[in-house]
């Protein structure tokens, strides 16, 4: 006969966390992508977040696995810096995002790197760093949800979100 001496087993885990109340509340909605989505036609009241989104452009896009600011991104950020100088009451959060074609942890860092690149550019254009904070969402908040490059290219982005008084 073979005696197997299993060690006694305690049930520490089965007393697990009482199941928390389940809520179905959805996450924060991303900002609209375009004037059309906002139902606007370029006639937003100057100095409003709508004005910023529609007439300045609240987001810049990146190449695959890159945080380098493309020429079009630099133009958008320059317009943002100008607008932010004109309306100094807004605080600013730059959200960095990655497409879904990367691994989760790297993409968290890549989103942060993109947000940092946008932040540094705005500061170089005179925006007070004290108004700026950054956050990375990695690949967790795509705006376009298909499985090809038409969506991935929209998701590799940094979005400048206005806050504070006036927002």
């Amino acid at each position: 006969m073979r005696r197997i001496s299993n060690s006694p087993i305690s049930l520490a885990v089965t007393g697990l966390v009482a199941v928390l109340a389940l809520s179905g509340c959805a996450g924060k909605k991303p900002l609209p992508n375009s004037a059309a989505e906002l139902g606007l036609s370029g006639s937003a009241v100057p100095g409003t977040p709508q004005d910023f989104t529609v007439n300045v452009g609240d987001r810049i896009f990146f190449d695959t696995d890159s945080a380098a600011l493309r020429a079009d991104a630099q133009q958008t950020l320059a317009r943002q810096a100008q607008w932010l100088a004109q309306y100094p009451s807004f605080t600013i959060t730059i959200e960095g995002h990655a497409d879904e074609r990367g691994t989760r942890e790297y993409n968290i860092a890549l989103g942060a790197r993109r947000a940092a690149a946008a932040r540094d550019y705005l500061v170089s254009r005179g925006v007070n760093g004290g108004r700026l904070r950054t956050i990375s969402y990695g690949k967790e908040r795509p705006v376009a949800t298909c499985d090809d490059i038409s969506c991935w290219s929209q998701n590799r982005r940094a979005v400048t979100v206005l806050g504070g008084p006036g927002a």
Binding site: M1, R2, R3, I4, S5, N6, S7, P8, I9, S10, L11, A12, V13, T14, G15, L16, V17, A18, V19, L20, A21, L22, S23, G24, C25, A26, G27, K28, K29, P30, D65, A67, E100, R101, G102, T103, R104, E105, Y106, I108, A109, L110, A112, R113, A116, A117, R133, I135, S136, Y137, G138, E140, R141, P142, V143, A144, T145, D147
Partner: protein, 437 residues
């Protein structure tokens, strides 16, 4: 005849005395060499355990499913059984089992004792040698019947393979619901076979990359609860959440050290991420990497002496190994593509990773010196391997193109035995527990 010792703990294991079998010649007992490359699954017969209700058959069903899922065993369909076992304390008619090629036979009984406690007992027979290989009893509450089944399956697995099983384990993962652009993510925990799913967070915040403590009922994970995403600890028994450290920036990608006393993680600093460890008792933090790059996904070797991580310091994500105290890392991945999410096997012999190459995402393994790379599965998106505690099976998540969301899969080290682990919602970021104690 049965009881040798009794311990008053939730589960008590007792060896059953071997049944006396007269006149059988001694033969080599059936066993599996798990290290052989191309293993034919061992045909085994797992009979419904005798019981006054359906519980015996349920336990047998879970044992059979566990053993089958390993890819090492092929449970024989019950329709083929010739002998109908009615008394597990009597030796079976071995010829009846040999003729259907059952190399091993599992029989058992489940009895509800006074007070509602279950007594589950089983015997494992070598049908060709005509010898009992195992005979044990377990006592437990009825609600734990699945655990009893997993423990019996682990016992059989260990007896027949010589290696520890992994069936009496749990998996913590991220359960995903809602639209893809506003996904609700909740931490969840389940048995390794997908049973008994429980949610640990409410879905108010994005939660990512949970990992089990090797020593406590605790996980570490990333939570967007505060203004800045950070690494937290979550006590599984109380639900208490605690921030890890006081870092000036986003922390992510946490993992415990093998002794459970440290959490190693990345700290974002501007455009770069570096790796830090924090001693959970002294709260002291140590910086381990210092580069103008993204250093992340650190994972300790099982002896705690080294750390594997990914870095894009050379341009693309590659795997590096350094001493647990820091110092100059050595790159170990040199194949065609980028490598990420390295995880050191609990056996120490392999590192599992995600590899991106040619627009595909693969799960693979290599030795800690970078040699012997093997890809186990490739497709549109496979990510985030985690090891079963015996180092023989990996779990990961897969999202097929156009599928809408990720699901959890296991694959063994041969790459041939791949299985979907069904979850109530989409599932990602699995992390396997140690063997339960």
């Amino acid at each position: 005849m049965h009881t040798l010792t009794r311990r008053l703990i939730a589960f008590v294991t007792v060896a059953l005395a071997a049944l006396a079998i007269g006149g059988q010649p001694a033969r080599a007992l059936v066993e599996i060499d798990i290290n052989k490359g191309n293993i034919e699954p061992l045909p085994v017969a797992i009979t419904d355990f005798i019981s006054s209700d359906g519980i015996g058959a349920q336990i047998s069903g879970v044992i059979a499913a566990d053993l089958k899922s390993s890819g090492l065993f092929a449970p024989i369909g019950k329709a083929a059984f010739i002998e109908k076992v009615s008394n597990p304390d009597v030796a079976p008619r071995f010829a009846d089992w040999r003729v259907i090629n059952a190399q091993a036979l599992v029989i058992g009984r489940v009895v509800e004792e006074d007070g509602g406690r279950l007594r589950a007992e089983f015997r494992l027979w070598d049908t060709f040698a005509g010898e009992q290989m195992l005979g044990e009893q377990f006592f437990t509450n009825r609600e734990n019947w699945r655990r009893v089944a997993h423990i019996i399956a682990d016992t059989i697995y260990q007896r027949l393979t010589g290696e520890k099983g992994y069936f009496d384990t749990r998996v913590v993962f991220v359960s995903e619901s809602g639209p893809r652009d506003a996904r609700v993510k909740r931490l969840a925990i389940m048995d390794q076979d997908g049973a008994n799913v429980r949610f640990l967070t409410r879905g108010d915040n994005i939660v990512l990359t949970p990992r089990f403590s090797p020593t406590r009922q605790e996980i570490t994970y990333m939570d967007f609860a505060g203004g800045e995403p950070k690494v937290y600890l979550l006590q599984l028994e109380t639900g208490q959440r605690e921030l890890v450290g006081d870092f000036p920036g986003m922390t992510f990608s946490p993992r415990f050290s093998p002794d459970g006393q440290q959490v190693i993680m990345s700290l974002q600093q501007g455009g770069n991420a570096n790796i830090y460890s924090m001693d959970l008792r002294t709260r002291r933090t140590t910086r381990l990497t210092n580069s103008n790059a993204i250093d992340t996904s650190p994972s300790f070797s099982p002896d705690g002496s080294r750390v594997v991580f990914e870095s894009d310091r050379g341009g693309r994500q590659q795997l590096y190994v350094m001493n647990a105290s820091g110092g100059e890392p050595q790159r170990i991945s040199f194949g065609n593509g980028s490598y990420s999410t390295p995880v050191w096997s609990p056996r120490g012999d392999l590192i599992a990773f995600t590899k991106q190459s040619g627009g595909q995402f693969s799960i693979g393994v290599m030795r800690p010196d970078g040699s012997g790379e093997r890809i186990l599965t490739t497709g549109f998106h496979n990510e985030g391997p985690t090891w079963a505690p015996n180092g023989r099976v990996l779990m990961f998540f897969r999202q097929a193109a156009g599928s809408g969301g990720p699901q959890l899969y296991t694959i063994d080290l041969t790459g041939r035995n791949e299985r979907l682990i069904k979850t109530p919602e989409f599932g990602s970021d699995p992390a396997w527990s140690p063997l339960l104690e």
